[in-house]
């Protein structure tokens, strides 16, 4: 890339005063707790269940940029150099509860009946770009399997 040497005919005078910079601190935290159980109650009947809870968040600490000089504020009067609200734009905070459970019942040596349910609930306490992502779903399942 070559560099020209004639002033810009638009007569816009760029103002270039360096860089404003700082360190940022970003953290993600996710707790996961779970419990599962399997019980063979009788030769025909067995139960299964599991539940889990996930607490996750991602956050940027408040950004503290250095104070700019009056030289900068007078040269760039229509600009704002504080970023103290920036950390609120992209935070995430989720809680996810999952539960599933059910039972198998052997109707005969070759036939097993299964009934199960599954529930998942997500609560989002921070909105990012997708709006409120909170929601839940549940699934009820039943079926018979036959060996032959």
């Amino acid at each position: 890339m070559s560099i020209g040497s004639t002033p810009d005919t638009l007569q816009i005078q760029p103002k270039h005063l360096g860089t404003l910079f700082a360190d940022e601190e970003f953290s993600t935290t996710s707790h996961f707790v779970y419990l599962t159980g399997n019980v063979v109650a009788t030769n025909r009947l067995s139960f299964f269940a599991s539940t889990s809870l996930t607490f996750s968040n991602a956050e940027l600490e408040r950004v503290q940029m250095p104070t700019v000089s009056s030289d900068v504020t007078s040269t760039l009067p229509h600009q704002n150099f504080t970023f103290e609200e920036m950390n609120t734009y992209s935070d995430l905070d989720y809680q996810i509860l999952r539960f599933n459970g059910g039972f198998d019942y052997r109707l005969s040596p070759n036939i097993v009946l299964t009934i199960a349910g599954e529930f998942a609930d997500l609560t989002a306490d921070e909105e990012w770009v997708y709006g409120d992502e909170s929601g839940s779903l549940f699934i009820l399942r039943s079926g018979v399997s036959i060996d032959f």
């Binding site: 040497s5 816009i12 996961f32 760039l76 150099f81 709006g131 036959i146």
Partner: protein, 581 residues
């Protein structure tokens, strides 16, 4: 008489062989048919919590079919399929015929849903002395409430067939096809009348097909060699989204009557162009490998391969040589040594990008922005490590590893000084298992990297007086304005969070006070810093403690529970230029 005796012997042999081989009674010959249904209920927003669910509130049938046939002569047919809903189907088929033939076929189908980015944050107007100024930023979602989802299907087939009677030469073949169909959100931005971001639904229709073929040969009882070649083709048949780009006009409040200036600074404006166009690619690969033992105590595996990937739309090709060698040997009854080496060389085409004339037809400077795109993929990468494992006693083992990795980007001229990242690493681990009731270990790893990966463009713009700029090409000092498009070349301080020193500590213990109770505790901690960048504190800390309990109070009851924490804190740079113009 002779003929009579021979005939009797022959018949006897035939009877004997037939009797001894017999008819293969199947060990398994079982069908399993399952039928049922499920009902899904949804509440509020479910594209996140149910991102792998169809997202339809309805009842649906489910079906499953399995078949297992097996004899003691190595005949195995194992088929298992499940239909959950029309987009969630799994199937697996396995066929074995002794040591002669093995065939596996897998099919899976799944769905993936995405949320819609509402773009509500993209709306702004500049303020100048209390009045609306020239700079503007806006958005438009052309398909509000769209439900983006992708249906992904995959079929994978693997075949191994022995060519020789003894089975020591085997033909290998593999086929894999991937299809992704559906819709996704496409956002595109039109710059410089305002920054105007538009979102619309883009159909997705992509497929990838891959075939591989090769052979393996047992050249001796302890050595096997093999070779394979492969071909993969990817293409996207998605309908291109055509984006209408506004006529570029300089903000009228700043420069009235200067509308014609800005189009001359852009590659395109006041036109319709496709966005989200994915190129067709082809990949060819070949590899030879050898593995085996020199003795009971020494094992070797090695491979050497070559592949090329071509972007057919743009006629760009990246090619790569790669290889590895692993050697394991027993130095004594209590000491093992393992050496591992990998190497790779990648070369990518460097296209010349011919850019339209800047400010064509306008008075004033018209610098050329043509450039050659040197690729960051070009590299030579080699890594070697030696691991020594020594049994201190029946209960304790110590494991020490040391190695070096050299990554050379020197064919990419615009990057780091020197263009080489050298990593020296070491790891030590002590494992203690006095009995089946307790196992504990502690591990420490450190890796020091000289000049880790950094973007080739700096992050800080030094203060440059608007009337004084050094011409870097010939060292002359000239007086002129600094153009906005020249800022990038003056930036300094390459930024990254890749560490110059990465340390890892892992502690774990498994305690089994009784056959029915097992506790596991572990902690994995990582501490990364980058000391090259003095301007910023670049650190990353990760902590992952874990606790798990398995409890079997009776043979019929089993419980398992636990807690895991994933905690990561990262410090890094954040910068903005003090600039206007």
């Amino acid at each position: 008489m002779r003929r009579y005796v021979c005939a009797v012997v022959a018949v006897g042999l035939l009877l004997g062989i037939t009797a001894s081989t017999g008819q293969a009674e199947p060990l398994f010959n079982q069908w399993t048919l399952s039928a049922g249904g499920h009902y899904t209920g949804l509440n509020d927003y479910t594209r996140k919590v149910g991102e792998y669910n169809l997202g339809l509130e309805e009842g649906m049938g489910e079906f499953g079919l399995a078949y297992l046939l097996a004899t003691d002569r190595g005949l195995l047919v194992d088929i298992d399929g499940n239909f959950y809903d029309r987009r969630n189907i799994l199937g697996h088929a396995k066929y074995r015929r002794g040591t002669t033939m093995a065939i596996d076929v897998d099919f899976r189908s799944m769905t993936f849903r995405e949320g819609q980015d509402l773009l509500t944050n993209i709306e702004a107007r500049e303020e100048i002395n209390g009045n609306p100024g020239g700079k503007m930023m806006g958005h438009e979602v052309l398909d509000p409430g769209a439900d983006y989802n992708t249906h992904r299907r995959e079929v994978l087939t693997r075949i191994k067939h022995a060519i020789t009677r003894s089975g020591d030469i085997r033909f290998l073949a593999q086929h894999r096809s991937l299809w992704r169909e559906g819709t996704t959100q496409m956002t595109s931005t039109s710059h410089c009348i305002t920054c105007h971001v538009e979102s619309e639904t883009c159909t997705r229709d992509e497929q990838s097909h891959q075939i591989e073929g090769g052979f393996e040969a047992d050249v001796s009882e302890m050595m096997t060699v093999g070779a394979e070649v492969g071909y993969r083709r990817y293409e996207s048949k998605s309908n291109a989204i055509n984006r209408e780009y506004d006529i570029a006009g300089f903000p009228p409040a700043a420069n009235p009557g200067r509308d014609v200036e800005f189009p001359s600074r852009l590659l395109f404006s006041d036109t319709v162009l496709p966005v989200f166009v994915l190129p067709e690619t082809e990949k060819l690969s070949g590899k030879v490998n050898v593995r085996g033992r020199f003795s009971q105590a020494t094992s070797l595996s090695a491979s050497l391969g070559y592949n090329t990937t071509e972007n057919i739309n743009q006629d760009l090709t990246a090619s790569s040589w790669f290889g590895h060698a692993n050697l394991a040997t027993r130095l004594s009854r209590k000491t093992r040594l393992i050496a591992r080496f990998t190497g790779r060389r990648v070369e990518n085409d460097d296209p010349f990008i011919d850019i339209r004339t800047f400010r064509e037809g306008r008075p004033g400077p018209q610098p050329s922005f043509d450039f050659t795109r040197y690729s960051t993929l070009d590299r030579r990468d080699g890594r070697g490590e030696v691991e020594v494992i020594h049994r201190l006693s029946r209960e304790a083992t110590i494991d020490v590893t040391g190695g070096v990795r050299v990554l050379d980007w020197s064919s990419f001229p615009d990057t780091l000084e020197g263009g080489t990242a050298t990593t020296v690493f070491g790891e030590g681990k002590l494992r203690y298992r006095p009995s089946r009731r307790f196992t504990g270990s502690i591990r420490y790893r450190a890796a020091a990297t000289d000049e880790p990966f950094t973007t080739s463009r700096g992050i800080l713009e030094p203060r440059l007086k608007e009337t004084l700029v050094r011409n870097f090409e010939d060292g002359e000092t000239v007086h002129r304005f600094l153009y906005y498009y020249e800022r990038e070349q003056f930036r300094t301080v390459g930024a990254t969070t890749e560490p110059t020193l990465a340390q890892e500590v892992e502690l774990s213990a498994s305690i089994r006070p009784s056959p029915r109770l097992n506790l596991t505790l572990s902690l994995l901690a990582e501490f990364d810093v980058n000391n090259d960048i003095d301007t910023f504190d670049v650190e990353r800390t990760s902590l992952r403690p874990h606790l798990n309990v398995n409890f079997l109070p009776t043979e019929r009851v089993a419980f398992s529970g636990g807690w895991t924490l994933n905690q990561m804190t990262s410090q890094g740079p954040i910068a903005v230029a003090l600039f206007d113009g």
